[in-house]
């Protein structure tokens, strides 16, 4: 019933073939051109890409034609039963999103709200003046899978699971009567702003990117900002590739709070995966490949002189946080950095003050 809108004629007219040419994980000739590979995929043929994809989402951003190459890859992987991860991991992941601890208590908000989705345990990251007066939903860890955007299943070649469950999730959120839904995790934002339109799922509320919200609130509280004067590196998450237009808020926030973004190789479009997805694929060599990638990434931050690594996605923070810390770079979630900038003391920051 929900079908991906993919226009293969656009690929035929595409000069750059950037979707695959720019891929950091599949190497397609030095000239970077492999015309027709995505068309072959669109036509339902097998392709080495379907087997080698590390599911980093980046081709969604690289595509200059407004197509959805990554969503397509996932659809075809599923149709051709090409599993990007071993079977038990798929079973485990599919089961993970099933709520089993009762129904959530739904309160009508009739206004903007913040959705913690499957990160109910992280409410310490939404404290202080930046978040005052913003009602929050999904704060009960036992009920959080009722708010889980499901997009994680793109990593498991299970578009069908997303399409099956997502309308129910949207209905649950809708019962809160939101006008705008600020998404704590930008994977949720990507779901409602990119994936749903791409497959024709109706979203009855306006999704708002977390960073756009933070930026607006910081602007409102501008008189409280004291420039933090810290050299920061930013760990861009895979889900940000679904909303590249919102990525600019990273730089805007840094400038607003006086954080100095260091010059690095692996930044913006060229950002590296935290390694979690690649290791999570659990394939032969995944562990080493992820470790090598992480080494390269952290090395790059270090070389650039970063004092702090700013995270967006809690999963990246969990995967890479310890590693950057061992290299003397402090791992920090963006919201904590913003709180710090307006003179608040997030948990664990006492010493810094």
């Amino acid at each position: 019933m929900y079908a991906l809108q993919f226009d293969e004629t656009r690929c035929l007219h595409c000069e750059s073939q950037d979707c695959l040419a720019k891929c950091q994980y599949i190497h397609i000739g030095k000239d970077g051109k492999q015309p027709g590979e995505m068309v072959r995929i669109a036509r339902g043929e097998d392709s080495f890409v379907l087997h080698e994809c590390v599911t980093c989402y980046a081709c969604e951003e690289y595509c200059p034609m407004g197509n959805h190459p990554f969503y397509l890859i996932v659809e075809r992987q599923e149709a051709l039963r090409i599993s990007p991860v071993p079977r038990p991991l798929v079973t485990r992941a599919v089961n993970l999103g099933i709520p089993f601890r009762g129904e959530p208590a739904v309160k009508e908000i009739n206004g903007p709200l913040l959705n913690m989705a499957a990160f109910s345990e992280l409410t310490h990251l939404i404290q202080g003046r930046l978040f005052e007066d913003l009602p929050v939903i999904s704060t009960d860890g036992r009920k959080m899978f009722h708010y889980f955007c499901q997009l994680m299943y793109l990593h498991y070649a299970r578009s069908s699971v997303i399409k099956e469950r997502l309308p129910g999730i949207i209905a649950t959120i809708e019962r809160h009567k939101p006008t705008e839904v600020v998404c704590f995790h930008d994977e949720c934002y990507g779901t409602y702003a990119s994936y749903c339109p791409a497959v024709g799922i109706d979203v009855p509320f306006t999704p708002v990117h977390f960073y756009e919200y933070l930026y607006d609130r910081l602007t409102e509280l501008k008189e409280l900002i004291k420039p933090v004067g810290i050299k920061v590196a930013y760990q861009r998450p895979c889900s940000s590739r679904l909303s590249p237009d919102k990525h600019r808020f990273v730089g805007k926030i840094f400038r607003l709070i006086g954080a100095e973004e260091v010059k690095r190789e692996f930044v913006d479009e060229n950002a590296l995966c935290c390694g979690g997805t690649i290791q999570g694929q659990g394939r032969e060599g995944s562990r080493k490949r992820a470790a090598e990638l992480q080494r390269k990434n952290v090395e790059d931050m270090k070389k650039a002189g970063a004092e702090v690594c700013v995270f967006n996605c809690p999963a990246c923070l969990q995967t890479l946080g310890g590693m950057v810390a061992r290299e003397g770079i402090r791992p920090v979630h963006m919201s904590d950095l913003c709180r710090f900038a307006i003179g608040e003391t997030p948990a664990g920051w006492e010493v810094t003050r």
Binding site: P86, P88, N95, F100, E284
Partner: protein
């Protein structure tokens, strides 16, 4: 004033003796499904001398003596089935010695797992002991006496195998020592004096252990847990064989459970790996995940779930709250590893029949020599029906253990009787003679190993 009460108060002190309903009530329970039985007195001694005097008193008065450590066996082993004097040994909680070079610790019997873990971390960070998956309030001595297994069971075996020496108060009140300490040497070895292993597995019916020496092992700087998962339970024994074959792992556990639902029907493995350097860690990881298990990953049958640094030490269990009801009990067994698939399938079936979310765990003991396989049944303490169901499931599982060719671990009275029914007559006769010699008055934890 009651004469026994007065005598106990004279031996210990009035504050640590009670025959009041509140103490008798609390000490009548096991935390599992066992029916409560009230003791007549509760006493909490501080020294071996006091324990000896209490035991002598019990002999004179012909009243039962029930020793209690952490009280966490869940098998009802310290329920005073025939009343008598319950001796709470937890006040005897001094760590007497830690020998760094000889890697052992001499402890009083009331020292808890958590206390030893914390003490070693603070004062001897290079040493660790094989800590069982029990709450940290479980005692080190009690766990060794019931043949417990810890997180070093895979390389080093049962915790009863870690014992270097014992001080025991016999049922008739004499104090004996075993191991090198018996000839006045330090507590560094249990061998090679004549073997008088009369106390392990006897459920407190042959004496009270007041001190023990336990082996310690190097605690590497990095310790963590790697996880692996398969769908097919038939693969579990060979995977355990491959992982243990690398000799690169500490704890190796396979488990499956219904809650949380993402694991339903899957077989998970946790493999503890320890290393002093990143190089050592990577070397071990490579041997385990890539060389030993790479084949399963290639075939798509097995998935590596990552390595998490840091061990939860002591370990925290939330099993008791599965039914929001403050209770669980499990049947533990010592089982050949090849039986894992059947143990899982049959256990799951029993659980589902009794409407209990299934939880099964197999911890490797020795390098594939055996496993402790446990079937856990949660219940709601406020709902007698769930307790009855759990008790039924437990009894069925006791039967299953023997049917599958395993041995019931720390059996409660039901399991003890099943074992006695199958016990070699010669062995049974010898055990009877030993019991009669050691405990002529039959005062030690009566009701256990009854009718031997």
């Amino acid at each position: 004033m009651n004469a026994i009460y007065q005598a106990l108060a004279d031996i210990v002190d009035a504050e640590h003796v009670s025959d009041r309903p509140e103490e008798l009530y609390i000490y009548s329970f096991d935390l599992g499904t066992a029916e409560p039985h009230r003791p007549d007195y509760v006493v909490a001694p501080r020294t071996t001398g006091q324990v000896r005097e209490i035991v002598r008193l019990a002999n004179r008065e012909k009243v039962p003596v029930v020793p209690l450590g952490g009280g966490l066996s869940l098998a009802g082993l310290a329920v005073p089935l025939k009343g008598g004097i319950l001796i709470d040994l937890k006040r005897m909680d001094r760590i007497l010695e830690v020998n760094e070079k000889g890697r052992y610790a001499v402890l009083e019997c009331g020292v808890s797992q958590g206390q030893l873990t914390s003490y070693l971390a603070a004062h001897h960070p290079g040493l660790t002991h094989s800590e069982p998956g029990a709450p940290p309030a479980a005692t080190v001595a009690g766990n060794a006496l019931i043949h417990g297994q810890g997180d070093l069971a895979q390389p080093y075996g049962f915790n009863s195998d870690q014992v270097n020496g014992l001080e025991v108060v016999l049922p008739t009140g004499e104090v004996c020592r075993f191991g090198s300490c018996a000839i006045g040497a330090s507590w560094f070895t249990n061998h090679p004096l004549p073997d008088v292993g009369l106390f392990f597995g006897w459920c407190g019916t042959t004496g009270l252990i007041t001190k023990l020496s336990i082996r310690l092992y190097p605690a590497k700087r990095i310790r963590g847990v790697g996880q692996f998962v398969v769908e097919d339970e038939e693969l579990v024994p060979e995977i355990i064989g491959r992982v243990t074959g690398t000799q690169m792992a500490e704890d190796v556990i396979a488990y499956s459970r219904a809650i949380p639902p993402f694991g339903l029907g899957l077989q998970h493995f946790t493999v503890n790996i320890a290393a002093n350097s990143e190089k050592e860690l990577e070397f071990k990881q490579e041997l385990i995940w890539d060389d030993a298990l790479g084949e399963y990953i290639r075939r798509g049958d097995g998935g590596y779930l990552g390595f998490t640094r840091g061990l939860e030490h002591p370990q925290i269990s939330k099993t008791s709250d599965y039914k929001k009801g403050g209770g669980f009990e499990y049947v533990g067994s010592i089982m050949p590893i090849e039986k894992y698939p059947e143990c899982y399938r049959r256990g799951r079936e029993i659980s589902e029949r009794h409407d209990i979310p299934y939880t099964v765990t197999g911890r490797c003991v020795g390098v594939g020599h055996s496993m402790m396989f446990a079937w856990t049944y949660a219940f709601n303490r406020a709902d007698p029906e769930t307790m009855r169901q759990a008790r039924e499931a437990l009894h069925e599982t006791d039967d299953l253990v023997l049917e599958l060719g395993g041995v019931i671990w720390k059996p409660g009275t039901y399991g003890q009787q099943l074992i006695l029914g199958r016990l070699d007559p010669g062995t049974r006769a010898l055990m009877r003679r030993i019991k009669e010699v050691l405990d002529p008055g039959g005062i030690m934890n009566p009701g256990n190993w009854e009718g031997i």
